[in-house]
């Protein structure tokens, strides 16, 4: 076996777990790989350094891998996603003030995203009539599930995310601070940031991401498509290391150790407690210690989550079309689907069990008709935003 060195970029988030464990617990070394992990501060950096070859591979937002392959929003570099590092893991958190306003406006239980979306529409309308400033929400990147999830939720209540509120990109490390300074009224971000907002008493978790979309394609391991061809053997070994690490992460006996490892300053760098609760899917949702659990809150390579599903890539592309980031064409759809590479996954790790709990369309959005990859226009028409209450 040839020794190989890899430089891999990551953002300090809990869904980098399989990657970090693969390196720190020696799964990569067993495959003859020396992996140099580089902690990054922005998705733009991760994408650029991957694109120009400073990185061999990277922990990347799944929609950003698709956008890069399509040449949408930036330079076109065909990327391959042979391993899903994570599904889900996001949440929508709002300020205590907005939470109270939503509660007062809600026609039913606020935990139901249909109810909360309608409540949001009422709050938005009331603020406009009162001449108050529009609400501001943060999300992490234009090409992110955070962006698409919060938009899906708002639109379901008749709120136009581009007209009725301000939806801004906010780097995750600034989210909690911005909420406490009232620069934003809420945000959609990944773990651990929602928990940190709750911990500091400045926010309440309104919805888990999986309440909005049951199986959202969140992060991929991305490599350049050309690199996947040229370094096939190295990639295969790297995927084996990730598979082994993912199994380790998902063994309940290792939760404590994994949380401790991720808590290290050079890794995710937040308290092991929060990480452990996140991995178990039990989060404090309000400052008084109220918690909510959902075993699907974050899916790190379990229940069939690690195998890339081209339907997920098609769904991400459909979101780009819906929100005017990309035109609709069969060529772009094909390019999006080609970015997700179950063939590479299968070659390295063999056929895995199909998910037991996945919804029939593979996505499970809380509103709208089931997703249909080959009728995106029809699917989007079925999601038409109801006439907003102006």
């Amino acid at each position: 076996m040839n020794e190989a060195n890899l430089r891999v970029g990551f953002i300090p988030l809990i869904d980098a777990a399989a990657l970090l464990v693969a390196v720190d617990k020696g799964f990569a070394a067993t495959e003859g790989l020396t992996v140099d992990l580089v902690r990054e501060v922005s998705w733009s950096n991760v994408r650029d350094k991957l694109n120009i070859g400073v990185f061999d591979a990277a922990h990347l937002l799944a929609p950003l891998a698709v956008a890069s392959s399509l040449g949408v929003g930036h330079v076109k570099v065909a990327l391959a996603a042979p391993f899903m590092l994570g599904l889900n893991g996001n949440a929508i958190t709002v300020s205590p003030a907005l939470y109270d306003a939503l509660s007062a406006a809600a026609d039913g239980k606020l935990e139901d995203p249909k109810i909360s979306a309608q409540a949001l529409a009422r709050v938005v309308t009331a603020r406009r009539r009162a001449g108050e400033e529009a609400l501001t929400f943060g999300m992490t990147f234009p090409f992110s599930t955070h962006n698409y999830q919060i938009r899906l939720w708002m639109a379901a209540g008749g709120v136009d995310p581009d007209q009725d509120v301000r939806l801004v990109v906010l780097p995750p490390p600034y989210m909690v601070d911005s909420l406490s300074r009232r620069q934003v009224d809420g945000f959609c971000v990944g773990a651990p940031w929602n928990s940190i907002a709750v911990e500091f008493g400045v926010g309440r978790i309104l919805h888990f991401g999986c309440d909005i979309v049951a199986r959202a394609p969140e992060k991929v391991l991305a490599v350049r498509a050309a690199w996947a061809d040229n370094r096939h053997d190295v990639l295969e070994r790297f995927l084996c290391a990730l598979g082994g690490a993912a199994a380790f992460v998902n063994d309940p006996a290792h939760v404590e150790e994994v949380a401790k490892l991720l808590a290290a300053p050079g890794r995710v760098g937040v308290s092991a407690d929060i990480i452990q609760r996140t991995l178990k899917g039990t989060l404090h949702t309000a400052p008084n210690g109220v918690s909510r659990g959902n075993s699907d809150y974050i899916l790190i390579a379990r229940d069939g989550a690690a195998r890339p599903d081209p339907v997920h890539a098609a769904w991400l592309y459909a979101q780009m079309v819906r929100w005017n980031q990309a035109p609709l064409s069969s060529e772009l759809l094909a390019a999006a689907e080609a970015c997700f590479r179950p063939d590479l996954y299968d070659a390295a790790l063999g056929e895995t069990e199909k998910s037991q709990s996945a919804p029939p369309d593979g996505i499970g959005a809380f509103v709208g008709p089931p997703f249909e990859a080959h009728d995106i226009a029809g699917h989007l028409a079925g999601l038409k935003v109801p006439v907003p209450m102006r």
């Binding site: 922005s42 998705w43 120009i52 929003g73 930036h74 990147f141 581009d162 620069q183 005017n324």
Partner: protein, 194 residues
């Protein structure tokens, strides 16, 4: 060279930003503004309406700039320097130096080539400066440590400074360690025996 270009620098490091701004002004660019506050970055950028935005790669706000590429916003759209991959060497030099640049769509690349070159030079100069400063600080603290160790030896063994230093040096050579390391052990031991 186009002195009328409006340039915005987004850098949390005030010294590096100053070095960069000075360089640009020396080169003749008169409209150079630095943004420190990241909270309302886009609002500031929109109001300044720059032709060129320079941002360091260690700044998480790079992702905020990504929002400006969204079609829904009716402002002058900047594009990333990296969009043009024809000049791979320049891109790599920029990434190495830790700087990224965004230019308003339609601006000819040649017009800002020297701005980016100047940035890379200045960023590298700053990195060298920081490195030298660190080395100087380390050297200074090592010097102090060795002086203290010499003082201890001179007092305890009743010897002169040159002999004390010779002892430290000989021990370091025998043990294959740095003189500063031997001095550190000696100082620690002396503290314990106080």
């Amino acid at each position: 060279m186009d002195p009328a270009l409006k340039i915005v620098i987004v850098d949390e490091n005030p010294i590096r930003a100053a070095i960069l701004a000075d360089g640009l002004r020396e080169a003749g660019y008169v409209h150079v503004t630095r943004i420190e506050e990241t909270a309302s970055l886009l609002v500031r950028i929109y109001s300044l309406d720059p032709d060129v935005i320079l941002i360091d790669l260690e700044n998480p706000s790079r992702d905020v700039l990504a929002q400006m590429f969204q079609v829904s916003r009716a402002v002058k759209r900047p594009i990333a320097m990296f969009v043009d991959q024809s000049d791979a060497a320049a891109i790599e030099a920029a990434v190495d130096a830790g700087v990224s640049a965004y230019i308003v769509d339609g601006l000819k690349k040649e017009r800002i080539k020297n701005i980016l070159d100047l940035c890379i030079l200045r960023f590298n100069a700053f990195a060298r400066l920081t490195g030298e400063l660190e080395r100087a600080q380390t050297a200074l603290s090592e010097r102090k440590l060795i002086d203290r160790a010499k003082g201890i030896l001179m007092k305890m063994k009743n010897i002169g400074e040159a002999d004390a230093y010779a002892m430290l040096r000989k021990t370091a050579m025998n043990e294959n360690r740095k003189i500063a390391e031997v001095a550190q052990s000696l100082v620690t031991a002396a503290e314990l025996l106080k």
